[in-house]
């Protein structure tokens, strides 16, 4: 039987015992019980920085038993004062993402698939590639006879995702190898 809206506008004092919002993961007995139900209750707060644009909003990561359970804008940081945009707000699912690459992957020449390898195997193989390329191609002097120590055939690109400490190391390593083809997001 279809009833009119007005018929249901009566005020009710009906009890709400035994109700729950289990689909949200919360108990409603009574509403105040939520006080103990926050999903990051007891979590450790860790300060981090949003990995997208260079406003560099600060983020609080809530960690419970080694797992990330929530992220929020850092209300104390003077620039974002707790606020975040769409990307910054997605930090939980960014970090806990099922699409992450979690194993070193190797694709052999002319192969049609990735193969999982361990780090030692990968780094050993890459180091061999680097040394061979360098030994075969390093230009110690140019056409004018000037000393140049340059490895024109090997390049490095990226990344603005690196921390300052990592950038400093990459620059140092690449110059030691003789790499001059070097660029990253700052130019695009």
């Amino acid at each position: 039987m279809q009833l009119k809206r007005r018929d249901f506008m009566k005020v009710t004092g009906a009890g709400i015992a035994c109700l729950s919002l289990s689909h949200l993961g919360f108990d409603l007995r009574p509403v105040q019980a939520y006080a103990a139900q926050l999903k990051f209750e007891g979590a450790k707060e860790v300060i981090s920085v949003c990995p997208f644009c260079a406003v560099g909003c600060h983020i609080i990561a809530h960690v419970k038993d080694g797992q990330l359970v929530n992220t929020e804008g850092d209300p104390d940081y003077p620039i974002n004062q707790g606020a975040l945009c769409a990307k910054g707000a997605a930090m939980l699912s960014l970090t806990r993402n099922p699409h992450r690459v979690v194993k070193p992957l190797y694709r052999a020449p002319n192969s049609d698939k990735w193969e999982e390898k361990d780090w030692d195997w990968m780094l050993e193989r890459i180091a061999t590639r680097v040394k061979d390329s360098r030994d075969q191609n390093l230009k110690t002097t140019n056409d004018k006879g000037q000393r140049v120590n340059r490895l024109d055939q090997v390049f490095t690109l990226g990344t603005s995702h690196m921390d300052n400490e990592e950038c400093a190391l990459v620059h140092q390593a690449m110059r030691a190898l003789g790499v001059v083809h070097m660029d990253h997001q700052a130019r695009i």
Partner: protein
Amino acid sequence: MTNHWIDIKNADAILIMGSNAAEHHPISFKWVLDAKSRGAVVMHVDPKFSRTSARSNFHVPLRSGTDIAFLGGMINHIIENKKYFEEYLVNYTNASFLVGDAFGFEEGLFTGYDPKTRKYDQTKWAFQLDENKIPKKDPSLGNPRCVFQLMKKHYSRYTPDKVSNITGVSQENLLKVYEAYAATGAPNKAGTILYALGWTHHTVGVQNIRSAAILQFLLGNIGIAGGGINALRGEPNVQGSTDHTLLYHLVPGYMAMPVADWQTLADYHKANTPVSNDPQSANWWQNKPKYFNSLLKAWFGENATKENDFGYGMLPKVEKGEDYSYLFLFDRMYRGELKGGFIFGLNPTNSVPNSNKVRKALDNLDWLVTVDVHNTETTDNWHRPGIDPKTIKTEVFLLPSAHRLEKDGTVTNSGRWQTWHNAAVKPPGDARTFGDMVVDLMNLVRKKYEKQPGTYADPILKIDWPAKYDAEEMAKRINGFFTVDIKVADKEYKKGQLVPSFAVLADDGSTSSLNWLYTGSYTEAEGNKSKRRDPTQTPMQAKIGLYPNWAWCWPVNRRILYNRASVNLDGQPYNPDKTVIQWQDGKWVGDVPDGGWPPLATGKGKSPFIMTVHGFGQLYGPGRMEGPFPEHYEPVETPVKNHPFSKQLRNPCYKSVSSDMDILAAPGDPKYPIVLTTYSVTEHWCGGGETRNLPNLLEAEPQLYVEMSPELAKEKGIKNGDGVIVESARGKVEAIAMVTVRMRPLKIQGKIIHEIGMPFCFGWTTPGCGDSTNRLTPSVGDPNTSIPEYKACLVNIKKADKLTEIS
């Protein structure tokens, strides 16, 4: 940014141009709207009406690539109507400098142009020097050879009718912006300019920004609260990665990469250390040998000695004038000249222009190491659509990297604040930080060279390289150490102690630092300052939101650069309501001043623009490739065959590469009559490799679209939501039509020109979302920076019969 994010709130006028701040730096609008709610006028000049425009006082559409015409018109307006801040102009800029007789300008070209090399002889643009080699000046600004008069003459050509004619902006709209912004020429008013890739992504990118600098100098807006030239930098640590220089042409700290002609350290210093005989010029770069030698000392440790030029000889040397940036790198790769390489957290098959060529170029590599958090169009290029992987010879490595919440370290925001982030959780699976893998890999390479020397092992074996990656230890190395026990100005330091400030860096090998700009960030007295979370401010600092005790900022915790230009010759602020610094009781209070010298009126002061040789702001910039004054040139692919300012249609010095895949449309090409501009979206980051893997963000922006006016859609028989094909001389791209009144047809030289816009964040590894927009854009770039012209090229558009990339 010369200033910083919070400081935007101090502006009386905000010109957002070459930026869509609300969409690409959403938190910036916290401060933009803060200023607006206190009466600031917010103006958005941009081809597209965007979320930024929606919250601005007004939006003014212009054709992509005509910013210099627009700004040149504003310079003209300010000079003609005497809206400039004359005292500032005379005391702090090179307006009064006299330019040599060789300088001239005719038909769009400055003197000294060689059409064969497409380069200028910049010596023709030199200043007139007195017997001490100090530029001659005319403080009355009346001399016809002074910068001010030459500039006035140059921009007198930028009349409202001509500007309107080529930009597509009505004269009424021009005046609206000009008048509102010029009002900040009053000494107690501040105007800020917020720009981003919308200015840099042009073959006249640097001169777009130079135009803005000229405006800010004219109006006295540099060095003050609420002023400045503010590049809203777009990537997570792009400021830091530029400072620490993942770029071919520099070494960390904005010093030149050695070229082959500088064979010795002495050669390097001779070529790179500026000299000024003006006692009023700080000429800060005269200290460069201290910074460079400390860098070498940090790189080579004990192996850097005075006797071996601190290891300078071991460094690679580039060829003078040779370009090793993206456009040229991928061109050489396409020609098969490169063997292998590393791509860390970057998706060039989506984000570099003419990406069809980039994708093909990668096929020519023997080996490729990719490092990322997700599979991207770059990591998986070997099995891209239409390619049989069995034909691709490249050995590809994909190393899983840690994300921000999974590691410790520092990043530097656009306002130069260096802030520490802490690892919250462990990286998933076997993922590792970039630092871990680079340190370990280099140690393996070093071991191999120890066992079997190979070619010129010296630089590899002699670098001072850590055994394990430790962000804290690296932060100290960046700050720098004393390498010997030493006494500096009555203070004793021990070998191994942290250097307190770059003022004590030395050129004799007694100090090391991986980046002089960051010296002072980590000290014995105060520890790691990037971790500071102290909101304390003096009332003066609080008024402008300076937060000097929160984190740390380069250089020397100075929050507003060139801040001595915010005060008069007596050291008193031009705007006492928003004081940045002030000379009180024999010392400076407020921000950290640009050097502690007393005010200029004492006769012992120094001019505020300490990073320039002469100490003055450069209205006239003789160091740029295409001329000392910005001049309007059309984009390389332009819908017009001429423009009203000269016969020189395009930048005479723009960079380009040539191959069978680098095809350009001719000016006014009837096959490609529509202007395309490209951009990011709020919900995705850059090439989209990460954010397309975030379901919640993909839900909000799921597929490639093209924004176009209803007028163009009608002309082409396209309805909102239709599949379309956009085609340039280089490639075709499928997209969904977003027919919107926010794109307006523009009247250029009496004819309607249509402009469309597309994001570039979509790629084939995310099924059905579309593929790289950069298959359309050309490999042409700015002559100073080689930044490609993503923001203006020519295309055509038609309704698609069927879609294969989007489903």
